[in-house]
């Protein structure tokens, strides 16, 4: 009945031991990331904490270390952030809705899709060059908040489009079919069913994109160059600086004290970032729609 020409050499013990070794290796790899992160944080805290003071936040930049602060950079960042959000969120969302829900499958849609994918991979410094050519020079805006915000908008637009598309895509098709089968028009379907379900996902995507905008410095350097700004921009056509540029400035100084100042600036920057990420995580967990899948 059961043929006996099966000869197996199962060697289970050896295979099990090999497996244990492998596990240890993977564990080590995983710790690398964590160690790197903690080293980074510890280093920054160690360097930066002594320099963290109210001066830092409420003073303008100065050649004198004890007076130097990043008030203008902080407010510049806020300016850029709000304007960027104002421009990029509606546009990104609209584009994503169009691509996911309305676009017919034709060459132009296809082209737009590939294009958005590519734009997301374009290095940020190239966006800086774009902003410099188009907004600063061609449109003659000068090195102002508006030019920075527009550049930043273009930079994060593909990111917002992609993440919004993901959240729209995650809406199971069965919901769309159900709505249409009830006699809904396409727009009724999008408004009544798709967007409410996709909204939390869109929100997290948006926040993550904005945190990217906070940290980006290369394009801002191309736009605004490195200058002392000792005022808070009062309108969109004022000159500006942002946190990362200020930090970069301090890092590039030869004096060790400025390095400490940079670390303190980094602490401020990371705090803002962590806050935004926390909000994103909150939304992700709070509103994540359980679908039937």
């Amino acid at each position: 009945m059961i043929e006996t020409n099966h000869t197996f050499n199962r060697n289970i013990k050896r295979r099990q031991n090999l497996g244990k070794l492998f596990y240890v290796l993977l564990l080590l790899f995983s710790l690398v990331g964590l160690i790197g992160l903690s080293a980074l944080l510890i280093q920054i805290l160690r360097d930066g904490l002594p320099y963290l003071s109210t001066n830092l936040i409420f003073n303008y930049p100065s050649r004198h270390i004890d007076q130097a602060g990043l008030k203008s950079a902080l407010f510049g960042t806020l300016w850029i952030l709000s304007l960027t959000a104002l421009f990029s969120l509606p546009i990104g969302m609209g584009a994503a809705i169009y691509l996911e829900e309305f676009a017919k499958k034709n060459w132009i849609t296809n082209f737009i899709e590939i294009n958005v994918g590519n734009l997301a991979g374009v290095p940020s410094i190239v966006y800086g060059l774009l902003g410099l050519t188009i907004f600063v020079e061609l449109m003659g805006l000068g090195r102002v908040v508006l030019a920075g915000a527009l550049t930043m908008t273009l930079l994060i637009l593909p990111i917002i489009i992609l993440s919004t598309r993901e959240s729209i895509k995650a809406v199971p098709n069965s919901y769309r079919e159900a709505a249409l089968a009830l006699g809904a028009t396409k727009w009724q379907m999008v408004k009544g069913v798709v967007l409410p379900i996709a909204f939390p996902g869109f929100l997290t995507g948006a926040i993550l994109a904005m945190s990217r905008a906070i940290g980006e410095s290369a394009p801002m350097i191309a736009i605004s160059a490195l200058v002392y700004i000792t005022f808070i921009p009062s309108h969109a056509m004022d000159r500006f600086t942002v946190l990362p540029i200020q930090i970069f400035n301090w890092v590039s100084r030869p004096q060790a004290e400025f390095t400490g100042l940079a670390a303190a600036g980094i602490i401020v920057l990371l705090t803002v970032l962590l806050l935004m990420n926390a909000v994103a995580v909150y939304f992700r967990n709070r509103y994540q729609v359980k679908s039937n899948e």
Binding site: G94, A95, V122, P123, V126, L129, S217, F248
Partner: protein, 296 residues
């Protein structure tokens, strides 16, 4: 039927607006190419392609001037390769640990931590490379320079680990549980399942993740500007300082070079090479995913 009329109007208006939004992306692309080419045009009208692409010395500002871009390209590649050599195995290992070995809870806590790593602004990495990694490297390689490719590359690797590991992890997680069960049911050990079933099935994801990670490294700016130096050279010694394309652009943007000059236009020529390189890598990455990706 007025109701039908209004409801269609509303739908069509929104549709039109949304299309305009989507179309904007094409305009942006055109504008990028335009802005790069229009100024690079000025550059290439004075410097020949051949000189630009075959010259091995880059000195656009200091005399004697020379416009061979290869040192910048090689610097970029050197840093990216160091980063990839470090980040790809580690990233894949992390992904495998998380998707195959870690408990759900570990995964849930580990992933956001890694995402923090990905979200840290690049100036911070620059700072970290300069003030933490380089001093350590100095102890191992006493003759290392203050600004060097190795330190920048390693930190760059650290920076792209989360990107590689999360794309890889997604690919591994999307390998259906049923395949693993099939493996176990045939009498496989966990390592055999991980290496012989999950890894091959997720291979396209891993390749794509690596390509995208390298592309990110090529385009990365502030880290290398801060930590890798500003000395364009064709050296492959990671212990020396080099200059990458991005770092060069920043360097020139910060200077007081007047607009319209040849020196100023070099950044657009370099920018265009950078753009072309990353475009190529990204397209390759996407191709791998769509062409070789396995649909379950």
């Amino acid at each position: 039927m007025p109701r039908k009329f209004f409801r269609d109007i509303e739908g069509n208006i929104f549709r039109g607006i949304f299309f305009a939004c989507a179309f904007l992306s094409i305009i942006v692309s055109v504008v990028i190419v335009y802005s790069l080419l229009s100024q690079a045009w000025g550059f290439f009208s004075e410097i020949s392609f051949v000189e630009f692409f075959s010259g091995t010395r880059w000195s656009p500002i200091l005399k004697p001037r020379s416009y061979g871009v290869l040192p910048l390209v090689s610097g970029t590649i050197l840093v990216s390769m160091i980063a990839a050599t470090f980040a790809v195995p580690v990233g894949v290992g992390v992904a495998m640990f998380l998707s195959e070995y870690a408990s759900e809870r570990t995964r849930k806590t580990f992933r956001p931590l890694l995402e923090i790593l990905a979200g840290v602004p690049t100036v911070v990495y620059g700072y970290f490379a300069l003030s933490f990694v380089t001093p350590i490297l100095e102890k191992i390689f006493p003759d290392i320079m203050v600004f060097n490719a190795l330190s920048a590359g390693l930190v760059m690797g650290l920076m792209i680990i989360p990107m590689i590991s999360s794309i890889t992890e997604d690919a591994m997680i999307s390998v259906p549980k049923s395949l693993r069960e099939a493996g176990y049911a045939l009498g496989s050990t966990k390592m055999e399942v991980s290496l012989k079933i999950v890894l091959p099935a997720a291979l396209s994801g891993i390749v794509a993740a690596s390509i995208l990670g390298i592309s990110r490294a090529i385009g990365e700016t502030m880290l290398v500007t801060i930590a890798a130096g500003a000395t364009p050279k064709m050296a492959w010694n990671p212990l020396e300082g080099i200059q990458t394309m991005t770092a060069f652009i920043v360097q020139l943007s910060l200077g007081e070079t007047p607009h319209g000059t040849l020196e100023y236009n070099t950044i657009f020529a370099v920018g265009f090479v950078l753009f072309a390189m990353t475009l190529l890598m990204n397209s390759l990455g996407r191709y791998v995913v769509t062409r070789w990706g396995i649909k379950y």
